[in-house]
Structure formats: C-alpha cells, structure tokens
Symmetry: D3
C-alpha cells in the first residue's frame, strides 16, 4: 500500500515546457484589451444568424406574426454586438503590434465591417431561401421546406459558408475560416469561405465534400457526398513551397449536377447543364450539356471463391 508523493517529474516537465525556446514557434501572445477569437462565441453568432434568417426554427423563442419583429430586433442587435467583438478579435489576431492607435483603428474598422455584415442579412435570407427550395425540390426523400431547414446538414453547411464568405469578402481575417471549419466538423462538408457559390445551391448527404478556395460555382448546382472540387497541382516557388493565391480549382457553371465521390481537379470549366457521374475523375474542361459516366461498371472482375 503506497502513499503517493508529489511527483518530481511534474516540476521538471513544467520547467522544460516553460522554456521560451520550446514554445516560441507555437505560442500566441496576448496584449491587454485585445480580445481572442472564440469558437464558443462564433457558434453563438452562427446560431443567431441562422435564427434571424429562418425565424422559428432555431433558438427557443416562439415565433408569431404579432411579435416576430421584437425577436428580430433583439437577435439582430445581439448579433451586432457579438460579431463586432469577434471581428475585432480577428483583426487583433493577425496584428502583431501592441499599440493603442492601432487598436483604436481596429475598433473603428470592426464597427464598420460589422455594420456591413448586418446590412447584408436580408440578401443572405433571400439567397438561402433559394438554397432551401433547391434542396427540397432536388431530394425525393424531403418532406417539406421545414424538414430541410431543420434537419439537413446541407443547409447547415451552406448557411455557414454564406456567412463566412460574406465576412471573407469584407477582408476579416481568421473568423471566416473558423466558421467554415466548425461547419466542416458538424457536417463533414468542407467549403472554403473564399469559394464563390451562386444561389439555389444544394448538397445531398454531404459527408466528404471538399470545395476549394478558388472554386466558382454557378446557379442551381447540386452535388453529392464525397465530391471534391480540388486543385490538381500547386505551382511551387523557388524555395519549393506552394505559391499561394493562384486560381487552381474548378469553375462549375449553372445547372450542373455532380454525383457522389466524383473528383474535379484543377482550373477546369464544367459547362452549363452538365452531369458528372459518381466516382468520375475529371481534370479537363467539360463542354456544356455533357453527361459523364464511369466507362464500364464491367471493368470489375467477378471472381468465384478465393479471398479478396
């Protein structure tokens, strides 16, 4: 029977972990008055924005015609305050100077940027309404708009993307990526906030979908689980590192459908109205109205007996 003593290894380990040499590459230093980006607050922000866009589905407030404007008023103002702080946190996260003038500039910028995001909410509702309708019409299993809004991971991922993309266009650092990774974690759908996606967009099932940063997607496009809109290769600079910022993902025109597990790689154009079959691998342009399917389901060998 043992009595446990305070373990010396604790003291020694803490000493090693406290060596600046050891942490300097992976440590984020805080300045007084600089708020930190917060996943919890961003989750609240996304939920609140969703509650504003789709009244009555999210949040615990009952919605009735007589009082809906009160809830929209309170929620929108609360969204403003929460987002204002996270936008500021994003600006501070990127900034490496601890300087009162700079902080004051960031505050002014955050306030203006937040106002712009808020004023885009009505347009975000309009576009997301087209996405909901596309999901309902495109899925034989969908029973109502309500079910789509309430349950479908696609709507969760696409609404987060549209919020994140709006913030990205305003030039806000880190925050858009955090929002899109939160949706990625929940849905398995990974849409880079820099991608450009037009209205009436829908995704079925969704797990494993990847839409890269420079992708451009037209109106009324539908994609299925496991679809990748990716880069084929990365131009490499003289140090052997990928050059950042070059268009390297597909352009998908209006009215295209892409079935499950298909990979479309590189700056190729999938022409209007094309249908890309499941598991297909595309690295060239596809003419408008094309239909691509995997050549032979028959290139599968039937083997009797034997292990695989």
């Amino acid at each position: 029977m043992t009595t446990f003593k305070y373990p010396e290894v604790l003291q020694e380990t803490i000493k090693q972990l406290s060596s600046e040499e050891s942490y300097k590459a992976v440590c984020h230093t805080h300045f007084f008055e600089h708020p930190m980006p917060s996943s919890d607050k961003l989750a609240e922000i996304v939920n609140l924005a969703r509650e504003i866009i789709f009244p009555g589905y999210f949040g615990d407030s009952p919605v009735r015609k007589e009082s809906i404007h009160y809830y929209l008023g309170v929620n929108t103002e609360r969204l403003f305050e929460l987002l204002n702080l996270q936008v500021l946190a994003g600006l501070c996260f990127q900034c490496e100077t601890n300087n009162a003038e700079k902080l004051s500039e960031h505050k002014t910028a955050a306030f203006e940027l937040t106002k712009k995001f808020i004023s885009s909410l009505p347009e975000l509702r309009r576009v997301l309404t087209t996405d909901v309708q596309a999901a309902f019409l495109g899925d034989p299993a969908a029973k109502s708009n309500g079910e789509v809004i309430f349950c479908y991971p696609a709507i969760r991922a696409i609404s987060s993307y549209r919020f994140a993309h709006t913030l990205f266009k305003l030039g806000i650092p880190i925050i858009p990526r955090m929002i899109s990774e939160m949706a990625h974690s929940e849905t398995g759908i990974d849409i880079n906030p820099e991608a450009q996606i037009d209205e009436s967009f829908t995704i079925d099932h969704g797990t494993g979908v990847v839409i890269g940063a420079t992708s451009i997607i037209g109106k009324n496009v539908k994609i299925f689980q496991g679809v990748t809109l990716g880069a084929k290769s990365f131009p490499i600079d003289e140090d052997g590192n990928p050059i950042k910022g070059i268009p390297r993902h597909p352009i998908v025109e209006d009215d295209v459908v892409i079935y499950s597990q298909a990979s479309i790689l590189g700056r190729v154009v999938i022409g209007k109205g094309s249908v890309i079959g499941g598991n297909v691998w595309v690295t060239n342009n596809v003419a408008p109205g094309s239909k691509l399917v995997q050549f032979k389901p028959r290139d599968v060998l039937f083997v009797e007996g034997g292990g695989i």
Copy 2:
C-alpha cells in the same frame, strides 16, 4: 478616437427582416401549447435509450445487480416522458391547424405511440446485442464487447438508426430524421431512418457511409467507410421534380461484405454471401456468392518524374 453611436443600419435591417414578404417561405409559426421539436431533448432521449439498452456504459449511474432495476425504472419512465413530448412536437410540427380538438387528438396519439416505442425496447436490446457481437467478431482491432459499445461509432450510428427506424414505422414525422442527422453529424454515417436493416449489422470506420431511404439490408451484413447504397436516377414528374416514394436503393441480402468506397446504385440486388471490393461501382444485380473486385490495380500509370 471615436465614440460609437447606435448604428442606424440596425434599424433599417431589422425593418427589412421583419417584412413578412421576406420571411414567409422560411419561417415556422408557433401556436400556443404546441411544443417545438428540440435537438437537445432528442439527444437526451437517444442517450437515455442507449443507457437503458447497454446498462453501465453511458450515463453516470453505477450499475450493480442489486440495484439495476431501479435505474431501468427511472430511466425508462423518464424516456417515456421526454419522448412523449417530442412525439407530440413532431405531430404538431407537421400540422398546420391551430385547433384544440386537433391538439387533443395529437396528445392521445403521442401517448399511444410512445407506449409502443417503449414496449419495443426489449426487442431493440436483443437486436443491438447482435450488432455489437458482429462488430466485435468482424474487427481484428476490437478488444472486447465493452470497447465496441463504448467507443465504436458504428454502434452509435446503428443504435440511433434502430431507434429512429422504430419511430418512423410508428408514423411519427420529423423526429426520426432529426435523430438520424444527429448521428450523421457525430459519426459521418448517414443512414436514412426509412431503410430496413436486419440484425447482426456492422460498419467499420464508417465515415462517408450513405444508406438511402428505400434500402433493404439482410442479416449479418458488414460494410466499410465510404460505401454508398444510393439511387441511380430519379424518375421525374411532369414538372421536372423527382417523384417521391419509389423504391430506388439496393437490396443487400444476408452475409454480404462491402469494402470501402464501393458504390451500389439503384434498385439492384446483391445476392446472399457476396463480397463487393473497395471502390467498386455497381449498378446491376449481383448473383449470390459473387466476389467483385476492381479489375486492374494495373490501370494505374507509373510515371517517373513530372508533376501530377
């Protein structure tokens, strides 16, 4: 240095968002006394059902032979009350009349349906026990039944599916889908609650699995990550919308194994005892006892040098 004033854009945006025109397609109106389906409550329900089925693994109650019946009593009664309210919420969600007689009918129906779900718990435990044993026997990495129940996403997804399917068969709206989407989010496994899956079913790894609404799966079937049991195409009605409710997903007979990333599409039959290899794409019937593998690992080009 700025003083921040109340932003006028808030007032203007709230006004736009409050216009009925703007929200009417995406708004859910509440009636007094109509409860709202709640993800939080459904998560509690699923956890409670799991705690009842697998005593001692979930929940913070210690389980001992002398007292297990107290916990089963309290948990089952609590499950009854929580589920009763969510079933009612599901019936109200679908119902568009604010009418006391209708509400009274819903309450009676919810009470009867909940009793039916509760009385199916012993059978659910029996079937889930076969699933646990299948997962243990089928995975060389599994160390005990306990590890399977405690850690495996397959058991999480399959138990949620079996709860949701039981609720679906009782005719309860929206709730089954909410439960299956919650499991989808946690595990990346998307099993439509309408699918029919017999006992001793298991899934390995699981991320990216999709099992469509009209799928029928026999006894002792095992599938791997990324497998799709999907629809090949949707018959379209005269308005160009998919016709809902038609059988369009595969029938997988007893003792079939389907390896990772395989796609089986359309109302095809995979015969008893067949093995479907990884990445295989199947759109036709497969005779019992077949073994399908991708034809040529050699249809891959070895390229020396050059970028991809």
Copy 3:
C-alpha cells in the same frame, strides 16, 4: 378529452429490461471505488494537453511572457490529476476482479504511467511543432502558423493521435481508443492510436481518412481527404474469426504524398518520395520515387442526352 393514466406497458417493459438474461451480454458492472472512463473528462484532458502544447490558442487564459509559467504549472498539474484518474479508470475497465489488492496495484500503476505521459509533453510539443510547420508549408490556403493551430482539423486529429499513441505505448487500455474516436467524430479523420507516425505529418481537408492500427508512416508525409491506409484481407482462424494483431496495413516511407480518395491496402511499402494520385487503388509495393496516377481520365464515357 382524455385523462392519461400511468401506462401499464411501462411496468411490463421495465420488468423485461431488468431480466439478467436480457442484459448480461451488454452490461458493464461497476465495483465500488472503480472509476469509470469518462468522455467528458477525456475531452478536458485533450483540451488541456493542447493548451499546454500550444500556449495562448486554447483555453481562456491570456498568455504573456511574464506569466506563462504559472499557466503551464497549473495546467500541467491539473492534467496530471485528471489523467491519473482516467488511466486508473482504463485499468479498472479492463479488469474483472473486485479485489482491494488489485485496485491498489492499479493505482500505483496509474500513477507511474501518468508520470511517464507527463514527462513526454516536451517531446510531444517538439513533434507537433513539426506537424504545424508541415501543414503551413504544404497548404497554399494557409495564412499563418496561428491559423493552422487554431482552425485546422488536421492539427486537432494529429495532436489527439499523438496523445493517444503515447498512452497506447504505455499499455493503457481503452483510453487511447476513446481519444481517437473523439477526434474521429470531430474531424472525420480516423487514426488508430496504434499506428506509428513520424514527425512533419500533415493531412489536408481530412474527412474520410482512415489509418489502420498497424500502419507505419515516415517523416514528412502528406495525405488528403478520403485516403485509406487499410487492410486487404484478414487471416481467419479455425472458428472463422479474424486473427488479431497481425501486421496488415501499409508502410509509407518518408516524403510521400497521397492524394484524395486513394486506397492503399495490405502490408505494402510505399517507397520514399513517392506520389500516389487521387482515387488510385494500390495493393502492391511501390518503388521509391514513383508517381502513380489513374490511368485514363478518358475511360469516362461522354454521353449526350439520356439520363444517367
């Protein structure tokens, strides 16, 4: 209008569920003083370890050079206490005797094992720093080390893997698997804690990645979403069950890149510096410096008109 009575079905169902016959295969019995493994505590442990490794990114403590050692001291000591209990819970979970001497042995063992984990934290920080740098250099969309640490699911999954692997090597039951399944659920990346992965490892996007238990991965390897390092088949014992513990997953040497959806199956070696293209299916050894791509994007049929 009905008055609801206490439903008799409750009593009957509870009685059936309380039959020992019914639950004995799926029930975990607790002994006094044996703690239970707890997902909540493990989540706290993983977050705390991450907060120690990457100071200033996680947790709500501000980090400043003057005071960082206080936080490291408190967090490391707290990690010690939390982990000590979960290690003990793991040892008890596996142990089937309710015996005071055995429990005393487990306590001594847990204390020693926890000390070993704690003393490996500085090395874990060193290795994870190489992973962060690999992720930053390898992704044209990455804007800073900070963004990688803060947002990338790869870092989340790889750090959980490295913690779990360290615990696995110490011989601790169940806990490593619980940690890896928690990361799997959050990121869609399923790395078995038994796998051996060297430094500078990175994963892009990640959803659907599976790395099996006996995989060995060298330095500076990069993989993309949907990649499987799996087993081709399982040797089966005379009872028809898979034989456990045999090397059955790939060896990936240094400097290899594996693109999305590729499947590498069985105990094959992917030679140093090779590039495996997307969607490729590999079941044989690959020589160092090879580049494999899918043979023909042209084995896709262009069909004009017609449904798919």
Copy 4:
C-alpha cells in the same frame, strides 16, 4: 485492506422508504400533464419582471433608446409564457382531481390570470418607482437611484412582494408564497404576499423584518431592520388550532417611521406621521403624530468588574 460490497442496508432502507404508510402524509403525487411549481422558473420570472420594470439594470441586454422596445417586447412575451405555466402549476398543485375537464378549466384560467398580471406591469413600474425614490431620499448613504435599484435588498424584497401580492390578489395559489420566500431567503425580509402596502415604501438594511399577512401599510412609510408587524395572539378554535383568516396584524398609516427591532403586535393602528423608536414593543393603538421611544436608556446597570 477492504473490498466494499454492495451494502444490504440500502435494500432494506429503500424498502422501508417505499412503504406507502411511511410517505403518505408528506408525498405529492403528480398527474400527467400537470406541471409542477418550479423555484428555478419563478426565479427567472422575478428576474424578468425586474428587468422589464427597471430596464438596463438586470439581464445582460444593453439598453438604448433606439432598441429598448425590442427588449421589452421579447421579455414581456417570455414573461407571459413562463408565468402562464407557473400559474397553471399553482392551480394544479392545489387541485386534487386528475380530470381532463378540470385541467382544461385550469388552462383557461391560467391564461386569463396571466393576461391580468401582464397588464398590471405599467402600474407596477409606477409604484416601484415611488419606492426607489423613497429609498434614495430616506438613506443618507444612498448615492443615486441607480445604486438603490442595483444594490439595495429593500428594492429586491419590495419588488418581489409587489409581484407576489398582484398574483395573490388574482387568487393564484402557492406561487405568491414561493416568490416571497425566495426574497426572504435572499434579503432576510419576510413580507407576506397578502399584506397591503401602499406606494413610496422603503426598508433600511432589512434583515429580520417580518410583515404579517393581514398588515395594512399606508403611503410613504419607512421601516428599519428587525421590525416585526406581527400578531399578538391567535384565537383558537374548539380543537385548539388557530383560526385562520382573522385580521390580526397592525395597520400603519401614512408617513410613519419605525426604527430597528421595534415590534408592533396585534390589530393596532399606528396613526399617520408617528415615529416608533428602536426596540420599542407596541401592542396598543398609537395616536397620529406620536413619537415613541424606549423610556430609559438608564435602566441599564453599569457594573464595574465581574462577568456578565
């Protein structure tokens, strides 16, 4: 070293505690659909009412002129819903029949009573404003109205009393008493909700104040800590039990001040403008404009040396 076994005393004790004989006098039986009064919900209700009456002091919503009506709208509607359920719970608590018609009557009654409470909020604000001003003017230590509203236990106790009294006048059972006991616990001030207290009422310090059920207090009255407005004796019925409902507490007319620890007992009248000194014991009527002090501070013995 011992192994702890499941203690048999548990089984035996549970059996005894489960005997109906043992619990029938102190057990409250629930009927389906009958909500239970909830201290947590009542605390939320009281806080919400206080937030509505005194905008900007309680709750975490910022208050600005441009948006105050949104907050009042949301909070008032939320108060309505929460209170409606607690009023119903109060009616059910008192009711001993499990009967659908009765429950339906209670629901209708609760809805009507809640509407009446809500419509009294503007008058409650008006009266409580007079109480705040009385507290500010009457206390040389008070620095602003804001400090009084934010910190003073008197305002906390008096506002709870005014809410509870309004509910009492509407005939709602149990709920008013629960609210007043919650304020009693927080402040040490025990005001029976049946007491009648006119406007501009204030209490200084407050701990130990007791104001009995049939007390009547005029305008502009101030009392200090430890004051009792109590009953002198209770008429007893033929069984030796106190007869309930008889006026037995004092009437305090306008502009009276009562200093600390004074006790005024029985149905006596303290005339307009009187001042009752500290520690005074009053059991007779006091004429208007009287000033009562304890006769002799000199009836205290100065003793040098010796213990007390």
Copy 5:
C-alpha cells in the same frame, strides 16, 4: 491614449503571497487521494435527502404510486455514494497524516458511517413529518401540508438540522457544521448541529433564530423569529480562552412557545408548557406552565414634537 503593459506589481505581489511565512496559518494542504469537503456536493446531498423524505416536492422527478420505489431506489443509492465521499472528506480534513493505512481506515469508517446514516432515513422521515404537522397547525397563514413542505424556511432549516445532527452523532467532523451553515445562509436560522431537538418542532418566520450547541429542546416546541437560545458567559481557562464543551445553553421542555426576539441565556430550564413573550430576556429557570411577558409596554415615553 495608453497601451497597457504587464503590471510589475503582479509579479511582486505573487512573490509575497507565495512566501510560506505569509500563508502558513491560513492554508490547507492537500494529500493525493484525500477528497476535499465540497459545498456543492453537500447541497446536492441535502436536496437528495429532502427529495427522499418528501417524495414529489423536490427534484424534477414526477412521483406516482406505480413508480415511486424506482426513484427512492436511485436517489437513496446516489445519496449513499455522494455522502460516502463527503464523510471520507470530513475524516481527511481533520486528519493531518498522509499515510496509506490511515486513509484505508478512513475509507472503511466512512463506508460504515454512511450506512448508518442511510439506515436512519425512515426515522428521519417520521420525525420530520411531525415537524411539518406542527408547522401547519401552528400557523394561521398555512394553507396545506404541501405549502409548508414546499415553501417554509423552517422546514428547510429543521430538515438540514436533523440531517446534520444525525451526522454529528456519528462523529463525523466538519460536514455537519457545513450543512447547518448552508441552511443558516438560506434561512437566517442558525441551529448548531450539536443541539438536541425532539419531534414536532417548529419555527415561524425564523430570521435571526440562534440555537446554541448544548441546547436541549423537548417535544412540540414553537419559536419565532429572532429568538436566541444562547450562552450567558464562557468559563475562561488560565490562558484567557473560553473552555470548550461545557453545557452552557438552555433546556427547553415540552410544549413551550417562545415569541419573537426573546433571548434565553445560560444553562437555564424553561419548564414544560411555558410561554415566553416577545423581546423578553431570560437568564434564570422558569417554572413549568409559566407565562412571561415584558412588564410594561408603558415604559415607553410618548414625546410630542422633537427628534428621536
């Protein structure tokens, strides 16, 4: 405009606070495996005991005849486990040796003591039922047993006292005092857990009541707010400190009533059936059947005009 730097005063202050000299008189050192007494856990324990004694009033479990034994089973077992740990914490708190044998002894003792407390629950229910009835009969404002159990601070304080006294009699350190101080904070009623109080005891209003450690109270006693059963003086030892453990508080015999603010000091006996009037100061024995009132309400001076 200032940039805030890390304040040096922090470092200096932390250094001073860390000097052992500075904290040694007011610091509690922890040993591994010694649990700490926890107010939160004790609050849970008291609530659980109250829920067991008075089924259906506290806790969120509905109580119905068909299922009450499940709740009693679960709650009693949970009470056992929570209390076992706090009893152990109490024994450790008092113990100053860090020694495995000692800890093992404490564990055995805690287990046995907890069993004794549990087995006294039926008797505690019986006695508390007499207290509830006494409160109901003795208060003209009380409307039902239910209201008394649910709302009256007396029942809250007396039940906490009875739990604490039972634990005190078992010789458990610190825990009884913590429980009684928690009730003191909630109700303003301060009953030392060492006092002996027989059945059918009630307190009206209660704020300011003090019942000292060596008080003995008979059956059917009723006291009002502000009553003190205190010590008159403390025998002092040669160092000038009070001698601990001497009987120094009153004995109150059966059927006594003590009105508000009365003080009874020293080891005096208040004879059976006596009535002690409000504000009375008693330091001598009082014969059975006596009625004491303050001599002259007339020793109050009526002063017209002038300040007090």
Copy 6:
C-alpha cells in the same frame, strides 16, 4: 375546449412599457464599450480573492507546497483581469457622458486602481489571519482554524467587507456596495464598506448585524448576532432630506465585546475594553472598561393562565 390566441393585452402592455415617460426615472442607458457591473463577475472576484488569501480552502485546486505559487500566479493574474473590468464598469456606471476621451481616462484609472488593490493582497491576508484567529479563540464551539475559514459566515462577511473597504478607499463607485450586499444576502451581516474596522475582528452567528457607514471599530472587537451600530437621527436639510456624509455612527474602541441584539446608536464612543450586554440600547458615550447589562431580567411579569 379552447384554442389560445395571441393575447392583445401583450401588445398594449409592451406599448405602455416602451413609453419613455414611463421608464425614464428607473432606466439605465448603456453606451457602446462601457461594461456593466456584473454580480456574477463580482462573486467570482470575491471567491478568487478568498482563494488567494486562504489557499486550499476554496476553489477546486489542490494545494501543495511544491506548486502553490503556480496557483497564486494564475489566480492573482485572473483576479487582476476580472477586477480591472469591474472597476472600469463601476467608473462607467457613475459617468454620464458617452465620450471617447472620458472612456480612455476611465481605462487608465481602472488599470491603476486595480494594481493598487492587487498590491494590497498580502496586507489583506495578514489582517484576515488575525480575524480568523480571533474567531477561533472567541468561540467555544470552534474546532480549528480550518473550520472557521471554511464554514463561518463571519469570515465570509468580514473578508468581503475588507475587500470592499479597500476598493472604497480607492474611490471606486458602486462596486464596493455590490460586494457588501452580496455578503449581506449570504450571511445576514450588513457591513457598510465605508466603515473602518481594525484587525482581530469577529462576529458570532451574525444574522441581523448592521454596521453603519461612518462606524469606527478598534482592534480585537467581538460582536454577536443582531447588533446594530446605527445612526440615532439624521440632520435634515432645508428640503427635508437627510444630509449625507456626516459622522453619525458609533466609535467602538479596542477590546470591546457587544452581546446579541444590542443597539448602539449615534456618534457615541464605547470605551476600550467595555462589555455591552445583550438587548441593551445605548445612545450615550460609555467609559473605558464599563460593563453594561440590562437592569432587570425581573421587569418581566409572571402571569399564570391567560393569553399573552
């Protein structure tokens, strides 16, 4: 059977409540960037300060000699940050201009004031240690310093007072009063933060104690429950309002004991070493070394028979 419609009274009431006329006297308007004083944060601050002063008793951190400085470091820094914001909130609460320069001044002031509070922590620990020792020595029921620190409401009230008084001396508005009212609510002890109390101060039982704003208390003073150090009367200005800020409470010199329910009123001096008996009413100076007791316990009338 009724269907409940949205009640019109809600709209009407909200409209009335939103009228500026109605709320302007009791509304607190917020400016952007002005934090609001928060009871929750102040509770956290007081707990943290208590945890720093008395290491190992409060908070859930184990304290060991080897690591105590880490906890003191983290807690002191956290206290700094929390308090800094609440001090700023206090300054803003009092300030009625929405002006960036003013806010900047407040921030600088808050930072400096917080530093001063932090640097007084070692002295606060020294003084509170004398209070703990006084409580232990003065109470025959006290079993250890530990019990006093852990359970006694006096230590809770006195430590809150000493924190609040330190903040008051620094000129911080509203915050000190909020802290003292929180302690008042928990303990029934109401010590105005402006009072001056020297070391080795203790209070027994405590409920009902009131210590007014201009009281001055020397070293080694002990008081009992219900004691008032109050004002006798307030000089009134020409408008009939009390003049604020005049010394109006007692001076109690060193080594005085004041027994329960005694009232000492007005700017009188209780000389060094005096003992004031219970229930005594003092409005004149008392010479050093005096012992005052109530003259006649015999001025109580024994009445046989009859009601009281």
